[in-house]
């Protein structure tokens, strides 16, 4: 396709804007990365901008050489995969039937689900419930209680709506049941949304730690972010220091920066792999009903 000159200029203007935005996002990350690799003295003097000063792998070495942390990294990875799979299955099971206009009770179920997004009673009742269910301090407690996000269900359902019902109807005429329609038609056409929601769930699980903090006493199953959170708190808990008259011998701020890397890098590795699902035209066009 030959582009007009105006379009070409427009392309470059857009590219320039994107570049500016990229820089505002990239530079801080590079700065944090540089901090995580710098000697503490350079950090004290505030000399680090974009490049590490006094190359220092202590923070990483500390985390990666301690079996506690490497195990936690591995465990969090496994947990994330399991959790994402469970959550995606649940989300599909929830969103798909709700796309059938004729389903009786659909409005009621929709309202019932939506309601839960707004009314939430806090940690203590959840704790008591989990205790009664026997889930406390067992690995399943990191998977089941948060297995469904209403927000994600709504997103998925919206995407399913954009798939023309004519496809479903013609399949039904051929004798396909709802399950077959789901597996043969809807899912293959929903790759972008499946990729997106998988990413959302995975990131939430990888970075989440508050449920482990409250409900998981067994340190073997602590996700990596919880371990890092504890390190950070033990280094920076000044109010505690004032009360107790001491500060827990902690690490310097290199570690603070390193913890950010542990949050970001794994997702950075995963995202490009998911990006190939975002190809234009992977779904058929949206036909407004």
């Amino acid at each position: 396709m030959i582009k007009s000159r105006r379009t070409r200029i427009g392309d470059y203007v857009i590219a320039f804007i994107c570049l500016v935005i990229v820089l505002t996002c990239l530079l801080p990350m590079l700065h944090v990365l540089a901090r995580s690799l710098s000697a503490s003295e350079a950090l004290i003097r505030n000399q680090v901008t974009l490049w590490p000063k006094g190359f220092n792998f202590t923070a990483y070495r500390l985390v990666l050489s301690d079996a506690k942390y490497t195990w936690s990294l591995l465990w969090t990875g496994i947990l994330t995969v399991i959790y994402t799979a469970v959550a995606m299955v649940m989300t599909i099971l929830c969103a798909y039937p709700l796309t059938y206009e004729k389903l009786k009770g659909r409005r009621f179920i929709n309202a019932m689900i939506l309601f839960t997004m707004y009314f939430n009673a806090g940690t203590i009742p959840m704790y008591l419930l989990l205790k009664d269910l026997g889930l406390l301090n067992r690995p399943a407690v990191l998977v089941i209680p948060n297995a469904l996000s209403v927000f994600n269900v709504i997103i998925m359902r919206s995407f399913f709506y954009t798939i023309p019902t004519s496809l479903r109807e013609s399949a039904e005429i051929d004798g396909a049941g709802p399950v077959t329609v789901l597996l043969r038609i809807y899912l293959p056409l929903s790759k972008p949304v499946l990729a997106t929601l998988s990413l959302f769930y995975a990131v939430a699980r990888w970075n989440g730690y508050s449920d482990a903090l409250m409900f998981m006493n067994d340190r073997t199953y602590h996700p990596i972010q919880l371990l890092l959170y504890n390190i950070l708190r033990s280094v920076t808990a000044i109010d505690v220091a004032t009360l107790e008259g001491f500060r827990t011998p902690g690490l310097n701020e290199t570690l603070q920066a390193a913890t950010v890397m542990f949050a970001t890098v794994p997702i950075l590795l995963v995202y490009p792999w998911l990006q190939r699902y975002f190809i234009a035209g992977a779904t058929l066009g949206a036909v407004r009903e």
Binding site: T7, D11, I14, A15, I17, I21, V22, T24, C25, L26, P28, M29, V32, N46, L93, Y96, P97, L98, Y100, R107, I109, N110, I113, T116, Y118, F119, N120, A121, I124, M126, L129, P145, F151, V153, I154, S158, F159, G177, P178, V179, P192, V193, T196, V203, N207, V260, A263, T264, L268, Y271, P272, Q275, F278, A280, G281, A282, L284, G285, A286, V287
Partner: protein
């Protein structure tokens, strides 16, 4: 006689085709009932005198027909101030932070440089993974009045330093800006996914009709992702009174307290730290009710304009 057997047959037919759907819904509904609705009875403590050692039904009712804690919250100047700030900050976030990812997604969609486009996508969602504590630290390094990068440059150029973080009005601007910056790339993901659903044939048709770039966007792209935009808008409007804790808590300081005090920080100080569970729940209930009202309204408005609502 004839009527009821017709009805019966219709019912049987209905069930025969739809039973798998109900089966599929079984697990999710069980989940909601167990993990959301059962704990929800606890919301009653908003009307009761809380005790850690009694069940919800055993606790005595609060004074003033159970509305004691609501009255207490609403007669607190700090609380009203917090509500005002929460609404103000959320509205600003919406006005600026809602269109931003859409525009960015459209821009990315227009980029012909495929590798640069991928690179941009991957980089721009990185800030989303920074916790607000880290961002606050970075913000101080960049925006601090005497030592912040921006102000050092400004001073060297002969301008006065700008109180990004220590003056209420500027602080609000910085607060919103940081929120947009953090979430821009991440929120674009949904729109990018939605954009893949736009039929490429429509673009070709528009091309043939002689449409330029902006016309294509206006008549093909935007309508294509309209359902997504509307859905997200409704959901966002339904969060108008909700309050994030980490963000204002990390960015606040004594000089901007009047605008940085939001419901979440109020609840944390008065409710959580003071072990005032009933108060905390009462405020949460108030927030929920208001949010649901907004949700209903937004949804109804959307339907009025021909959009498909959330339910």
């Amino acid at each position: 006689m004839v009527l009821s057997s017709v009805k019966a047959r219709r019912a049987v037919n209905y069930l025969r085709s739809y039973w798998t759907l109900y089966l599929m819904l079984l697990l999710p509904i069980a989940y909601f009932v167990i993990f959301r609705y059962i704990p929800m009875t606890y919301i009653l403590i908003a009307f009761k005198k809380y005790s850690l050692f009694q069940s919800v039904w055993e606790m005595p009712w609060a004074d003033n027909y159970g509305f004691e804690y609501f009255i207490r919250a609403f007669s607190s100047r700090d609380f009203l101030n917090a509500v005002r700030n929460t609404v103000m900050l959320n509205v600003l976030d919406l006005l600026i932070g809602f269109p931003a990812p859409i525009i960015f997604a459209l821009l990315l969609n227009e980029l012909p440089f495929r590798r640069f486009k991928r690179f941009t996508q991957s980089v721009t969602y990185m800030p989303h993974f920074l916790s607000w504590i880290i961002i606050a630290g970075l913000a101080l390094q960049v925006f601090a009045p005497s030592t912040g990068l921006v102000n050092v440059v400004l001073r060297r150029l002969g301008f006065d330093p700008i109180p990004f973080l220590n003056h209420p009005t500027w602080w609000v601007f910085t607060y919103v800006f940081l929120g947009v910056w953090r979430n821009l790339g991440w929120n674009t993901i949904i729109y990018l996914a939605a954009l893949t659903g736009v039929n490429p044939e429509l673009y070709e048709a528009a091309e043939i009709d002689g449409a330029n770039r902006w016309q294509k966007i206006r008549y093909v792209t935007l309508p294509g992702i309209q359902p997504t935009i509307v859905t997200l808008l409704i959901l966002n409007l339904g969060q108008i009174l909700s309050s994030d804790f980490d963000r204002p808590y990390a960015l606040t300081n004594a000089l901007v307290y009047d605008v940085s005090n939001v419901i979440a920080t109020y609840v944390y100080t008065y409710g959580v730290r003071g072990l005032q569970f009933s108060l905390t729940t009462a405020i949460g209930l108030f927030q929920s009710v208001v949010c649901v009202i907004f949700l209903f309204t937004a949804n109804a408005l959307a339907k009025r304009y021909g959009e498909r609502g959330i339910w």
